[in-house]
Symmetry: C2
Subunit: 543 residues, 2 copies
Amino acid sequence: MPVVRVALAQLNLTVGDLDGNVARVLAALERAEDAGADVAVFPELSITGYPPEDLLLKPGFVADNVRALNRVVRATRSCAAVVGFVERGRAGGIFNSACVARGGKRVGVYRKRHLPNYAVFDERRYFETGRGGHRLYEVGGVQIGVSVCEDAWQAGDGPIARQGELGADLIVNLNASPFYAGRWREREAILRARAAEAGAPIVYVNQVGGQDELVFDGNSMVVDAAGDVRCRLPQFVEEVAVVDVDLDTGETSPSVLASPFEVDHEVYEATVIATRDYVRKNGFSDVVIGLSGGIDSSLVACIAVDALGAEHVHGISMPSRYSSEGSKDDARALAERLGIDYRTIAIEPAHAALLEMLGPSLGERPPNVTEENLQSRVRGVVNMAFTNELSWLVLVTGNKSEVAVGYYTLYGDSAGAYAPIKDVFKTEVWRLARFVNDRAGREIIPEVVITKPPSAELRPDQVDQDSLPPYEVLDPILEAYVEQDRTRDEVIAAGHDAAVVDRVVRLVDLAEHKRRQSPPGARVSPKAFGKDRRMPITNGYRR
Amino acid sequence: MPVVRVALAQLNLTVGDLDGNVARVLAALERAEDAGADVAVFPELSITGYPPEDLLLKPGFVADNVRALNRVVRATRSCAAVVGFVERGRAGGIFNSACVARGGKRVGVYRKRHLPNYAVFDERRYFETGRGGHRLYEVGGVQIGVSVCEDAWQAGDGPIARQGELGADLIVNLNASPFYAGRWREREAILRARAAEAGAPIVYVNQVGGQDELVFDGNSMVVDAAGDVRCRLPQFVEEVAVVDVDLDTGETSPSVLASPFEVDHEVYEATVIATRDYVRKNGFSDVVIGLSGGIDSSLVACIAVDALGAEHVHGISMPSRYSSEGSKDDARALAERLGIDYRTIAIEPAHAALLEMLGPSLGERPPNVTEENLQSRVRGVVNMAFTNELSWLVLVTGNKSEVAVGYYTLYGDSAGAYAPIKDVFKTEVWRLARFVNDRAGREIIPEVVITKPPSAELRPDQVDQDSLPPYEVLDPILEAYVEQDRTRDEVIAAGHDAAVVDRVVRLVDLAEHKRRQSPPGARVSPKAFGKDRRMPITNGYRR
């Protein structure tokens, strides 16, 4: 059996940017051609970026995407290209398709057969299902089968097995497979199973980069017929790799075998690329972060520096009458260690003015949650002034535990453009902070920030645990109730304290209206708040 | 042919409130039984309310819904009940089903065959497709066919035609069909076609009420085999009607034949019921509205009074250094005419404090958009203090034209719980204001408010048309670009000025991140902002 030279084009594409995406595809194709590749494999829907969402409902957009694809087709020479695009069928419907092109011409088109419509996916909103018999394509003297993403998740008689029966020597699978922690292991397992069914190696190419709340980690690979990973591209970086795949032995050369990151590392990198791409792909360069001296804002500042560079990150300390000296010192220390712009704007003047304005309506009373929210909202207003005046995007520092139970102020600390750690539970925030310091080999986030009891500092001596169960208790309840869709009764049956579960479940349900108005953030778990979890606000279910 | 006595149960259900929904179903069933009805027809998914969204992903919720259904089944006596519920299939999947029950037992279950997965619908995210042969059910000596909502939209050999072939004497169709302006005409047309195909009358029962952004208008009906509407329940009210349907003549008695409202009237009523149900079903009673003296907040105040009663509506005037005396007078006049609580809180103290706090960072400069946004955000903070302190929900007053082009301040005038006129274009706002005054037979909204040039009054002598094209020009462009999914090029080709279209399209695209953080509002058009239009924020498409 021969050797086939394959280019894996793990590209960072932008939804809707047809010209930019074509430019990236053409550059990768030229590299593949120059390297003498037989076939270059691109991600799912390379032309449009993934997911194009309701842009697909615009017939003009689909037509433009076909014109963009045709530019790629015309540019092909001896290296075949397998490129994802949106195909308009004769009956008017559209397909999530992969075009095989060579020598300036379309050789054929494969239509995705299994359309995910769960979790963050809405593909049946847009696409028709590909049907009919399978065919193979000859490249470099071997027969290849083509499939798209979810097609590879069909066991038994799915498209890949069918192409194996037809005699495919090699399977290529185009992907836009979103990241979550540990996802790479699941992908390897299914590719192993498919390769065994097909009796052929699989070339799996995934896109990389952030798109709103989704993160794509790349991690493209070649799995041989025996199920061994022979080639793996790194996570979270754009890369075009050209490798020879020996169809007899499954060996690839040269050796390209990146190691997947361990879980804290990959979650951290996911938040970094998500933040970088959200900021830059939307045309911005700088961000501003309210630095409280707490662990959440400290971690977000580290993410921002890794994403954008210290010179593009601005920290603001906004102490109130209740802020401790320790917190102010901690915030300053962090900013100094990161080398970022840092300023202090005390919120007392606006805080006092608002209290006085509201006095006649609200009457005399001791400070309460209304006053706490006022402080947070003044900070939101200050942050947003930097967006308006200097085009610095505000990064929101809330974590998944807080977002779940609504432990934040709507239009206050949740005001901003992007929330890097929105899908990271508080217990994981501590782990990521340790990771940051460990990797740096020095204390970037001050140790005291990691060890002190979390506090919103909106009233004297306040700590989170006045209002919430300890995070070690809270997070497993949230995982069961939110991520695993258990009911209150089931969470209690699993051994959690009934009164605590009742309180937590009630808080989660009541916070739905706040979450609906929160900024997007990086999805790093199998179920994030956002398009992943579509709960009604008006909801009478209490079990 | 006999006469069959049918109860149409046009109920206002609440998503997730299984006990409450069962109570409503049982009360209607008892009324039907007492009236000697042969069959009582309930809306689609009566047990769960519609749409239950991701509650359906909780197996415990589905199990609870089956238990709730069984309470209804056990309560049936001689009147058959056709009730929508979520059925768990043997293979583990779930179905959008209708249970036919009588004499305390299930007689059969129909599984919806056509699952909408477009616009606001995500049914393929949850449900399996009903398949297999059809059957009929004997009630009162006649054979009835059962179908659910979208099934009725299938021409030719759809479920209703097939049931007609089987010899159905009567078709019942359970619905949760969301409202938009003029929707009743489309429903009548398709029911007319289906009745002709089946050669039998159709009993169409729709739910009524607001559920987050969706509004259900009821408008349940009986269409005879010739396509004539013989019975029609009113829009926007809960009602159980019992009528005899003569299967020979198609006649119904007693005569229940409400007239659908003309378009401004039905849109207005839709915003009223949506607002009432959002407030009350979420456990609140009162709302607060920032009254600027402009037409949007004036109209929203009228809607709120009709929804909740004047004693539950609170108006706040929040003048800034730029507010005109005329506006303050207009706001007060409106509040007096509506008989609502009214107070004034000048925002100057917080406005001045914030300018001073930000001075060192932002430097000396003439007032600009940053300062305009500060004012709007101070108002947002003041409004929200009433939510925190008194549990008054904030109603947001933005219209669809503003929401489309982002002509509002995020966390400022868009801060709040619900936006009644979010899906109403500005040109339609004027029409609704006229409707309010015409219906009352007196000037509730002062004439000057309707005729003066719209202004945000955030700087001296500002009017909307400084920043935007005239609304008569803007709204048709938005209709084409947003509602009809035209591209920029296509809108220009349709005859709109290229420079204006470029500006509008750019504004719409750039406002996506603001809309994502806006409160829900009543959907009254075929494409509203919200779950109806799922555009990427990060979006490089510019054509």
